[in-house]
């Protein structure tokens, strides 16, 4: 019955394709989407093709995409895909391999930062996507406090080392402790060294990954057997839990990045580990009281990598026009314009471009941040694992489960999923 329906749907879809050239793109509501929207008239002028961008919230994208992609006649010519979904979408056969088009039009993919090309470009050697923007994680901190001579002297007196952009995870932890203060003398911390994003699900999983790497841990070994329930992992959970209790705001175990963001934006914290794309928001007076005071540093051991890529779904009604759009949006000229507007680029050269650096002095640090970022395990069941890990971590940091026990449960689920995906072999 389903087959019959699909066949009919396909026939109907084919019948309605002869339309004026418009590329429909489903995107996420991020600043980068707005930068592109502003540039679209240039594309229309150059090619005569209309681009219709529909921007929806991240949490609704998967629901919106799946019915479109499973149907043979989808409504979108091009889509953007989170690194979370690359394995799922490619394994399901929803995305079109781009290698032939890349070869035909001599598109140079070596311009991309290798860590991002690995993350969202290629799957098992086949190119399915061109990296669009990165959301690698780093440490957003208060530059004005770090550079304050009085703070520097006090820090040196207390710890015997300089107060500077941290070069080790331990150094960062000392800064977190140092800046956690009780400013009104009521016996409770009210200026926070760090803000945790402890909500169950991807919020805690993403942020905790930085703690795991910071403590020298890894998710799995070469055979895809879980290793994050190691002593380093346990230490990372304990650190995370203690940061919430001693250095962070009440209720951080229920925060996602919006809550953490607001605390930092209200000038109530020294730093937090988060997505680099959030930095520009702190220079916007409509959402921040710390305009000009925030900066970003890479996680000393390498933080968590993240990014989105451009893809053409197999259900696309006009693959050629979609490809034209992707080539244009990833051309050097447009990438530079997007970056100047505040975008989070994926091509390596633009981080060193003199015009860009002149306007955005933090580009050098962002380059290191992206280049050293580490990859979350990307496989078909990434999202399922993120949920299981997030649940166990949240149980541990809200004091309902022993850290080791929680990590053991998550590791067990990881191994089960890796086995299901054919990666872990007994």
């Amino acid at each position: 019955m389903k087959r019959l329906l699909l066949a009919t749907a396909f026939a109907l879809g084919v019948a309605t394709t002869a339309q004026a050239q418009t590329v429909h793109v489903l995107m996420e509501t991020v600043p980068d989407t707005d930068y592109i929207k502003a540039l679209l008239p240039e594309f229309k002028a150059a090619t005569g093709i209309d681009v219709d961008i529909e921007a929806i919230s991240y949490i609704d994208m998967h629901s919106k995409l799946v019915p479109q992609l499973t149907s043979p006649a989808g409504g979108y010519e091009a889509i953007v895909v989170d690194f979370y979904w690359t394995a799922e979408f490619t394994k399901a056969g929803w995305l079109m391999p781009l290698d032939d088009l890349i070869k035909r039009d001599k598109v140079d993919t070596s311009v991309y930062v290798p860590s991002l090309m690995n993350l969202v470009g290629k799957v098992n050697g086949v190119t399915y996507m061109l990296p669009f923007y990165n959301y690698s994680m780093g440490i957003i901190y208060r530059k004005d406090l770090l550079e304050d001579p009085k703070e520097q002297a006090a820090f040196k007196a207390k710890y015997g080392i300089e107060l500077k952009v941290p070069a080790t995870w331990d150094e960062y932890k000392k800064q977190v402790e140092f800046f956690s203060r009780d400013t009104d003398g009521d016996g409770k911390i009210d200026f926070f060294g760090t803000i945790n994003q402890g909500q169950r699900g991807d919020c805690i999983s993403m942020q905790w990954s930085n703690y795991l790497y910071g403590n020298g841990g890894q998710y799995h070994d070469a055979n895809w057997k879980a290793t994050f329930n190691s002593p380093a992992g346990i230490k990372a959970v304990e650190d995370f839990r203690d940061d919430i209790a001693k250095h962070g705001p009440t209720g951080a175990e229920s925060f996602c990045f919006d809550e953490a963001n607001s605390v930092f934006g209200q000038g109530k914290a020294y730093s937090f580990v988060t997505f680099n794309i959030l930095l520009s928001g702190f220079n916007d007076p409509a959402s921040s009281t710390v305009v000009g005071k925030a900066s970003i540093a890479p996680n000393p051991i390498g933080g968590l990598n993240g990014g989105w890529g451009w893809a053409i779904p197999n259900s696309s009604q006009d693959k050629e026009a979609a490809w034209k759009f992707i080539k244009w949006v990833e051309s050097k000229e447009i990438v530079k314009k997007r970056t100047l507007a505040g975008g989070a680029p994926t091509q390596a050269w633009v981080f060193d471009d003199p015009d860009v650096v002149a306007k955005r002095p933090e580009m050098g640090k962002l380059k290191t941040l992206v280049a050293t970022a580490q990859e979350f395990p990307t496989f078909t069941y990434t999202v399922d694992f993120v949920e299981a890990l997030g649940r166990e971590l949240n149980l541990a940091v809200s004091g309902q489960k022993d850290p080791k026990e929680a990590l053991d449960t998550a590791a067990e689920e990881f191994n089960k999923l890796a086995k299901k995906d054919g990666l872990l072999k007994e």
Partner: protein, 297 residues
Amino acid sequence: MAAVATVNEIVRRDRQFGWFMTAPGLAALVLVVLFPLFFTIFTSMFEYTLVRPGYDTFVGFDNYRSALAQNYFVESIWVTAKFVVAVVLIEFLIGFTVALMLNAVTRFKNIYYPILLMPLLINPVVVAQIWRMFLHPELGIVNYLIGLVGVSKVNWLGDPAIAFWTVVMVDIWHQVSFMIILLLAGLSALPKEPYEAARMDGASTLQSFLHITLPLMRPVIMVTLLIRLIFAIKTFDLIFIMTRGGPGTATDLISYFIYRSAFYGLDIGQASAISVVLLIAVLALTAYLYRYMRSLA
């Protein structure tokens, strides 16, 4: 004999008329109800995943078994049951009280009524977002206000013991008016004569309520509770935005569990299996409650 034939004729015509009245609505529904039901039951017996959608591998009841074996499945059922009972009962008690009061007054009714309608017109996603803001432990207005009277910060959504009741509270704020509207409509449709007769006999307000209002309101109360129950079991947005089932598993409702099976686990077969179990349970509960409440009449 002739009389019997006439009665049969009337019964036959009644039945015909019943189907005549039902047909247009049924016609509008049949495809959109039958097809998804069929799809769900059928899919629940196959290895149908988003990565490999299709009906190549028949697995019988394996999906049902693997769903039950998942970590925290039983907890999720238990949390859902607790949540549904809590919101339906509390909303009913508050809702009935307010409806009775509204029915008793004549002045300002057209001020009270629009006010209580307002939360219902807000989308659940937004209700969750704005309450998350109000309940922000450091920057929320609620903790600020209770701080003014000397209460220390409450960890509304991060404390496992509190988060469940926070979510219940927000649901009540949002949905209690649903009950009020239906119960008030029921009350205003009640006949006046029995009350006058009771007053002649010297019955107290309480006696009138127990012996006239409650029995006459039974059908409306029954259906209000049932519909609210069915909606409460499907509660999703509130949890998805406010807690993601946390802290730990304190607010992990079954609807979010099924969502995870389908979209995170990519296993439509298994998600369908849980849905079928849920469907049977809710159907059985509805039929039972309906019969039970009718038997009281």
